[in-house]
């Protein structure tokens, strides 16, 4: 089925919600960005209105945009500092609890990403809600619209510290009882903070500061994807020759 502006999901959403949603369609995946304040009304409409009927909430996850697009290895120009470039930096996995980056600010750092599925229309939609305040990321809870979102919101709270306003039971879910911090935030060390072992003398499980060193083998780089395009062209040539 070919979609015209009237039948495509993006077109229908734009016609129904207007400026409330910022809609993009990439590779047939429709993404709608909206403000936290509009979320509940939009969600209820998406679930109930016959044009949408997104009866299933497939997934909700948190995301932390801190450090988005940052690299440890400059590939644009040649520098004089040589190969040590790769082992310095503050990227994921390179710092411990004491050396974690602090005070770094990024506008619109946290977001909740929601994947919806309409079984009736066989369509998917992705919603993204940015949290306005970094220090207290707040998103309204969708538990009243799709009860199945309960644990997904608990997970996003546990791992990212996003608070879902109106959630009936916002407890940690994946981390340990009594865990401190939100481990999937980009400024939380990959090696963690504490480790746990059984102490035969005290005859109980004890917590200690981690003993492992942070270590990352491969530096994070961003290359212009021109070489990828070139490789595609080469591959096409290769098929023609053979």
């Amino acid at each position: 089925m070919t979609d015209t502006p009237n039948t495509s999901l993006a077109g229908q959403l734009a016609a129904r919600f207007g400026d409330t949603l910022a809609i993009t369609t990439v590779r047939n995946e429709t993404v709608a960005e909206l403000a936290a304040a509009d979320l509940l009304a939009v969600a209820a409409a998406l679930r109930d209105e016959p044009a949408f009927r997104f009866g299933e909430l497939i997934d909700l996850c948190g995301i932390d945009y801190l450090g988005y697009g940052q690299v440890e290895w400059d590939t644009e120009t040649v520098t004089g500092t040589g190969f040590s470039r790769g082992v310095e930096g503050q990227a994921q996995g390179r710092f411990d609890w004491a050396g974690r980056p602090r005070g770094e600010r990024r506008p619109r750092r946290f977001a909740a990403v929601i994947q919806l599925l309409s079984i009736e229309h066989n369509r998917r939609l992705r919603l993204r809600v940015f949290c306005e305040d970094d220090s207290l990321p707040l998103v309204p809870s969708l538990t009243a619209v799709w009860p199945g979102v309960n644990w997904f919101e608990r997970e996003a709270f546990d791992l990212y510290g996003i608070i879902f306003d109106g959630h009936p039971d916002l407890r940690r879910i994946l981390t340990d009882y009594g865990f401190v911090g939100h481990p999937f935030r980009k400024d939380f060390p990959l090696i963690g903070n504490v480790e746990v072992r059984y102490d035969p003398e005290q005859k109980r499980v004890i917590y200690e500061p981690v003993s492992i060193e942070p270590r990352v083998l491969v530096p994070r780089t961003i290359r212009d994807d021109a070489d990828l395009m070139q490789a595609k062209a080469e591959a096409a040539d290769h098929w023609r020759e053979n």
């Binding site: 009866g55 995301i63 996995g93 994947q115 079984i119 992705r126 990828l228």
Partner: protein, 417 residues
């Protein structure tokens, strides 16, 4: 009059019927469940965070360890997400191999499920039969990847290598020799496809054996019929997919509705249940094994007739062959770059889902253009299913909780991630 109060019972995390490390805090009124609070996360390994610190290809092996009884389906979701962002497509033969192995994986998973679920509900024999066939399919995993379970076989751009010409054989031992050895090796004389041909010709009769043990078994029906009824509305509200949704009569299968790999070319049926109870879900899964068997046969037939490449010839993504690498300078550079730095994936985001044996297994991948993913989120079917536990088991008996855990087909590798 004496006041009778509910009491709280702890179930697990070390309990044979918990299918791993599930802890349930149950509020009981006599033997009836009033409220249940599942505690998960005891197997949390931070897979998604680990993946953010590694080049894309190095995390494929982690995917096997999520749902560790349906390994290659997890890989498939992750690999498809990378391929979507890269804008590449695996060669046709690789797509058929993936389809075939997805179905082998589905049978592996359902065999594990039927065996352990029956064991939980008091039928000892089924697991022994199920593991007999599981072992044969494990050998197929081993033949293509060298590992019985954690295969890391799917790669962005195809599969790691083509199917082997020979199937491994049993060696002579004090327990297997002479005509006995010859009998157990009789399927293994030819290639892997010959072996699968023999296996799939025989497998429907094996499914009949399991059905004989269970389908009309009085105890089995007493434990499953009318237990854990999930209405179609409830299933959708709680984000259920896979057999949990189909058992309630909703005909929804990504292999049919949003086909990937070569499912559009396959001829197979989607079984659906009527009542949405544990028994219907059992029947759905048993029928799925038969349908998977059909798909494997179609793939085997196609793969026999159509040799070809199984990996894209794009050296930015897939390594050159060993021979090329030893002879060609450029190939050597490609190989070195690929295994040290990896490849950069264009900035963007995608959500790719596959119909894993347990339901919809999805991978939400965000790339900022680097050689490592910016965010990987894995949508595990078991996580959504288990969250509905409290709603479904209220009012059931304690023993039915075990039936419910079984019918969810839980594996904590994927629930806890």
């Amino acid at each position: 009059m004496q006041e009778i109060r509910n009491y709280t019972m702890n179930f697990g995390p070390q309990h044979p019927a918990a299918h791993g490390v599930l802890r349930l805090i149950m509020e009981m009124d006599g033997e009836t469940i009033v409220r249940v609070d599942p505690h998960v996360g005891l197997l949390h390994r931070g897979t998604e965070k680990l993946a953010e610190s590694k080049p894309f290809n190095q995390s494929i092996g982690y995917m096997d360890r999520l749902d560790y009884v349906s390994m290659m389906c997890n890989e498939h979701a992750y690999v498809r997400a990378i391929e979507t962002l890269l804008g590449i497509e695996a060669p046709e033969r690789a797509q058929y191999i993936r389809t075939m192995f997805d179905e082998i994986t589905r049978i592996l998973n359902h065999l594990m499920w039927i065996g352990s679920n029956a064991l939980d509900l008091g039928a000892m024999a089924v697991i022994l039969y199920a593991f007999r066939e599981r072992e044969e399919l494990m050998d197929v995993y081993e033949a293509v990847s060298g590992a019985r379970m954690h295969a890391t076989y799917y790669r962005p751009g195809g599969v790691y290598r083509d199917l082997p010409d020979q199937m491994s054989k049993y060696r002579e031992s004090p327990w297997h020799k002479g005509s006995d050895l010859k009998r157990i090796n009789s399927w293994r004389e030819g290639s892997m496809l010959d072996f699968l041909d023999a296996f799939t010709a025989d497998f429907p009769s094996k499914v009949d054996e399991y059905e004989e043990l269970l389908t009309t078994n009085r105890i089995w029906k007493q434990r499953t019929v009318g237990i854990g009824v999930v209405s179609p509305e409830l299933a959708q509200q709680w984000g259920m997919t896979g057999a949990m949704l189909r058992g309630s009569g909703v005909e929804w299968d990504l292999r049919k509705k949003q086909p990937y790999a070569k499912y559009a070319e396959m001829d197979f049926d989607i079984p659906v249940g009527v009542n949405g109870d544990c028994y219907d879900r059992y029947l759905v899964r048993v029928e799925e094994m038969r349908q998977s068997n059909r798909i494997i046969r179609q793939c085997v037939e196609w793969l026999r007739a159509n040799p070809g490449p199984v990996m894209v010839k794009n050296f930015k993504v897939a390594p050159p062959s060993r021979v090329e690498m030893k002879q060609d300078m450029e190939a050597l550079i490609h190989h070195f770059k690929l295994f040290t730095e990896g490849y950069c994936v264009p900035a963007g985001e995608t959500y790719c889902a596959v119909e894993a044996p347990k339901g919809e297994f999805g991978c939400y991948l965000v790339s900022d253009g680097a050689n490592k993913p910016f965010r990987v989120h894995l949508r595990a079917p078991g996580f959504a299913h288990l969250s509905s536990m409290d709603t479904i088991v209220r009012g059931h008996m304690l023993a039915d909780v075990v039936a419910m855990i079984g019918t969810y087909d839980l594996v904590f590798g994927e629930v806890d991630r």
